[in-house]
Symmetry: C2
Subunit: 110 residues, 2 copies
DNA sequence: TTTATTTATCGCAATATTACGATATTTTAA
DNA sequence: TTAAAATATCGTAATATTGCGATAAATAAA
């Protein structure tokens, strides 16, 4: 088949999976690192930092925006992108919960 | 083309992306939630919790294992899976770093 | 208004992912 | 040894993702 089954998972699970998916590519990690590093929002500079064509970068940015990982603001002829902090918090909350549960487990195996 | 370019990213970026990719599916999030919730390692129970065929679940587990997100131990005729805590820590470290950098930014936009 | 600059979108090709059923493999139990 | 139970692997089909060049769209500058 090839299409992910989505109808049998709860909202939160789907949301977390979508966030992970939006970051599941080295170019997107590199984009996040750039956006986090620089004090001002990055626009065209992102393209020059990546080994990809402009259209490909634009595509990645769109996917990340759709998932709510970044936000884009048109600034004249440029578009400025920033990280959406809420999405980072949501991912951290998920991992924190998992981590806490793991600490409370008494190691029966592994 | 379709194949991700990997040769132009540094090791850490590739590693983080691979970890995110290993979790970029609702079934895998559900698997992690199960493994975190239960005190003992889960084996066949995982299949019954998911709306997928046994072979499909096995495939997901293999992918997660290859990325180092879980570890599997053969236990007689069953296989027991646990979360690899190191991978969770690595993801948290990445997000923590991003989060810290964001807090230190003076909001020029967004 | 025309031109340059920047980003987005379209169309396409190549590859990867997702999913399933069938079957192989492994270990335990009879 | 044979049968069962549990997982893994294989083969295959459908869909998604990745990437590029070409081109459209939008704004700024001349």
């Amino acid at each position: 088949m090839g299409a992910t089954k989505t109808e049998d998972y709860n909202e939160k699970t789907l949301r977390v999976a979508a966030l992970f998916q939006a970051l599941a590519h080295p170019a997107r990690i590199a984009i996040i690192e750039q956006l986090a590093k620089s004090d001002t929002c990055q626009c065209g500079e992102l393209v020059s930092e990546l080994p990809l064509a402009q259209s490909t970068v634009s595509q990645h940015l769109k996917a990340m925006g759709n998932a709510g990982v970044i936000t884009g603001t048109v600034e004249g002829t440029a578009t400025c992108y920033c990280i959406d902090r809420k999405s980072i918090r949501q991912l951290m909350a998920f991992l924190d919960k998992v981590s806490g549960q793991l600490e409370r487990q008494d190691q029966k195996c592994c």
